[in-house]
Amino acid sequence: MIEVEFARRGDADGAALILGVGRDRKLTTMARAFDARGQLQRAVKKTKAFRGKIGQSLEVPAPAGGASGAGRVILLGLGQPATQAPTPGPRQALALGGVAAGALAGRPENRVVVDLGLDAEGAARFALGLALRAAGRVDLASRPREAGDMAPVPITRATLLTPFPRVAAELWESLKEVAAGVLLARRLTDLPANLMDPAAMVDQARRLTEMGVGLEVIEGPAVAAAGLGLLAAVGQGSARPPALAVLSWRPRPDDPRPPVMLVGKGLCFDSGGLSIKPAGGMATMKDDMAGAATVLGTLRAVAGARLDVPVVGLLALAENMPSGSAFRPGDVLTSVSGTTVEVIDTDAEGRLVLADALGWGIRTLKPRAVIDLATLTGSVVATLGRHKGGLFSRHDDLAAALSAHGEATAEDLWRLPLPEDEVEELQSPIADIRQCAPAGGLLPDALHAAAFLSRFVPEDVPWAHLDIAGVGCGTDPEAEDAPSPRPVPWLDDGGAPGFGVRLLFEWLRSGQETA
């Protein structure tokens, strides 16, 4: 990750210099100070397409005679008049950082100086956007990329100028842990399934123990022995056995508060099992553990920032494969909570592993609030596309708090209805419940999945389910429809976004989980 420092003044010698331009196409005061000869303002004037909107940037490769000595100037659209002191909200500041980093991809400079006149909060959020976009996606090519979409951002050091460097640096202390958490979640999600299987995910979880995070792992035959019949069944077709990893963060051992529990779906690869998926686009199913990656990334951020809140993270890890030992449609499974489940479609496996993780965690850890994240249904993509994640909850306060933090961190959620009554399509003639509705017609599968999960969460436990199938995966370059851009496209490099780490971190830090 890039190194970030905050200062009142900085030397831009040989660095890339980021300056601001208003919606009125005028340079900010800071920018004018670097534009004694008027070259920058002329560049803006001549480039009619550059309108000073957020998301726009204009590169001036070799500014002549500027006092800065900068190797290159990048003018960023601020989306507001140049005369106003820029006060972007957290979401806009994050976006500006992303735009800046994107504009530096494939350029030679490894140092950047940013002089936008941002306040402390703005500067710290900008740094987060810069760090996230600059890190790049997992690239296993054996030879370095040349220019183009995949060109890396070579920046290793950033100096952000702000009148409040000390406050900004303090804010960054925790935000850089968020950046590390997001980048971890992204990396784990982007890594292909042959390299990131359940055991490898457990290894990744183990690395957090160095930061003071506790780890308990139920794996292999112990999964079935612990009564986790749903998780065991989903994983039984694969040669790589399933696991439930339980991470716990409790900075004060004497803290009497019950923990907040985060649960992530961790299907390291989801072929669909016997109900196998079509071949087209199946490669993206390496991302089907994005929920678990987000939980791991959030724990990494929480521990790094030493947040004073007890948190447990459950990773429900398995690989769903068709084989002679695979589970079958029609099988009846017994969950850890005793509820029997009739399997209709082995490709609706995420809700099975989550149900066991929720059931086990709530019984064993008695959490005071529960959030689960899962790349769960195609249905939620049909509903909300790739711009917003689906939010299901019985608890209005919790839903509102999560939505608000999602808005601020550019991880948008939209609430969808959690069926209150028993869903007829999930009634089973042989077991307590069906895992999904039998195929036929158009089905609101995301609602059914949420209703299924709700059977494993007592009504008095504040709980939210985030279906991140649309927002949690990388974009498939071979998709028939052109992938639609994300709400803050400038943070996006086509890889998995690590969706949820920012929003969960801010929610945990706000203390609203106790409300």
């Binding site: 049909a382 509903t383 909300l384 711009h387 209805p417 158009l442």
Partner: protein, 497 residues
């Protein structure tokens, strides 16, 4: 079938529904009946299956000590929790259970229960309303059905101490029932009967109740420039129509509220033809227009105190030698050009021109459109809620509230510039589809492009709620008329008070 209100007293003959509260507590008239039958009701409850939970029922055939054909015990749950919608459902359930055992005369007791949150007269009228809606049956094409297989109920009587005020309260609900029934009829009619022309004719019949009805034919629409609507209809041998229904119940110069309905009388998909399985459902792709028609009838019948205008965009979407092709670019009435990528995304094309027309002609203060618009809304919300999209939080809030109060529930989904981008076209102002993702939202974004000057507007995607595959207390299988109750409620709460 007759429906009336009478003084609360045990009838001598026929079938009778009496309420039982949560925990098996008999309501006053049930107690009388229990005494008369030497404890038959108490014994039946002791049997254990029936506890008085809301909507539970138990039929006692020919109880000794009376000449009644059947007594129906109707579970009310706790009296304090009975809402208007619950009362409707109870009326519907009572009717359904007694019609099923062949009753000819059905009496339903509505006692003035302690703690009832609904006034007794209102409760009685709601029960009657529920029974009326439950009695709906579309059987005009079942010519060989045996008489004994048809329901025999000739008379429904609500027994209440508030018979006179209940009758008054019933008048507005009767008007509402008429509107719901008209909407259900229109939705149920097959497409070979209900062409755009026939639909327009039926709309014109509503002049009898006081609506002003105008019909534009294809020539007039072409002259105005409704290229989007006409493009959809051009493949069909049936001519397209645009119908306006006006109700002037408010102040003379007051701007009206507009209701716009998608009326694709049959939607084969056109050249982007649909798969054969389930295509027969596409006769009800005019559900939005049916609801608007039913609603306008209700408003006229109950002499609603506002100005309202209903617009029906009526077309048939067929593949043929004259049909619209994918790739065609059409110019809408608004002047905006549209690249037709998929001829099966035709509803929005019809609505686009209807929306422009209503704004140009009537300057409405609010617009609500209804359409069986997308399959995606069924994948999103199933059949419990219709999708609600709006550019106005106040209107959206009022609609959501009216939905809860009427039992026709809405769930709001987002509009967002990010989704609008999915409509970008390389050759025209927009494409008519935005890809598979977020299909209902991109459809709403498309419509939003035809709303001028930020007029408060809401779009209801009713594809999941217009046709029901199963019976529910007040909605028999088939066309639901979903939207009439909801919008009647919205009108009375928002623009009449």
């Amino acid at each position: 079938m007759k429906l009336g209100f009478s003084k609360r007293a045990l009838p001598e003959t026929g079938a009778l529904a009496v309420g039982v509260l949560d925990g098996g507590t008999l309501t006053p008239l049930a107690e009388e009946l229990d005494a008369l039958t030497e404890g038959a009701l108490t014994r039946a409850i002791k049997g254990g299956l029936f506890t008085g939970k809301r909507d539970q029922t138990l039929v006692l055939p020919a109880p000794a000590g009376t000449k009644l054909s059947h007594v129906l015990l109707l579970g009310l749950g706790p009296a304090a929790e009975l809402t208007a919608v619950h009362c409707q459902n109870l009326g519907g359930t009572a009717y359904g259970r007694l019609a099923a055992v062949g009753a000819e005369s059905v009496a339903i007791v509505v006692d003035d229960l302690a703690g009832l949150p609904v006034a007794p007269a209102e409760a009685a009228a709601e029960v009657a309303f529920g029974a009326r809606l439950a009695a709906y049956r579309f059987d005009r094409y079942r010519t060989s059905e045996k008489k004994e297989d048809k329901p025999r109920v000739k008379k429904i009587t609500i027994l209440t101490d508030a018979a006179r005020p209940a009758k008054t309260a019933w008048a507005a609900r009767e008007a509402l029932a008429e509107g719901v029934i008209l909407a259900r009829d229109l939705v149920s009619e097959p497409a070979n009967i209900l062409s755009p022309e026939e639909f327009a004719k039926r709309a014109q019949e509503l002049e009898a109740v006081g609506l002003t009805v105008k019909v534009l034919d294809e020539k007039e629409m072409a002259r105005l420039g409704m290229g989007a609507l006409l493009g959809v209809g051009q493949g069909s041998a049936q001519d397209s129509r645009l119908v306006t229904l006006e109700w002037a119940g408010g102040k003379k110069k007051a701007d009206p509220v507009a209701f716009v309905g998608k009326g694709v009388c049959f939607d084969s998909g056109g050249i982007s033809i649909k798969p054969a399985g389930g295509m027969e459902d596409m006769k009800w792709d005019m559900g939005g227009a049916a609801v608007v028609t039913g609603l306008m009838k209700t408003l006229a019948l109950r002499k609603a105190k506002l100005n309202a205008v209903g617009i029906l965009g009526l077309v048939e979407n067929m593949p043929s030698g004259t049909a619209q092709r994918p790739g065609d670019v059409v110019t809408s009435l608004s002047g905006q050009t549209i690249e037709v990528i998929n001829t099966d995304a035709e509803g929005r094309l019809v609505l686009a021109d209807a929306l422009t027309y209503v704004q140009d002609t009537f300057n409405p203060k609010a617009i609500i459109d209804l359409a069986t618009l997308t399959g995606a809304i069924i994948i999103s919300l199933g059949s419990e809620h219709a999708g609600l999209f709006s550019n106005d939080d106040t209107l959206a809030g009022a609609l959501a509230e009216a939905g809860l109060a009427s039992g026709e529930k809405l769930w709001r989904l987002p509009l967002d510039a990010a989704y609008d981008k999915q409509l970008k076209s390389e050759i025209a102002d927009m494409k008519n589809v935005g890809g598979r993702e977020a299909g209902s939202i991109t459809a709403a974004q498309f419509l939003k492009r035809f709303i001028k000057n930020d007029t408060p507007w809401a779009h209801l995607d009713i594809a999941g709620v217009t046709w029901s595959k199963k019976d529910s207390p007040t909605v028999p299988k088939g066309g639901t008329g979903f939207g009439v109750r909801l919008l009647d409620r919205l009108v009375s709460e928002t623009w009449e008070s």
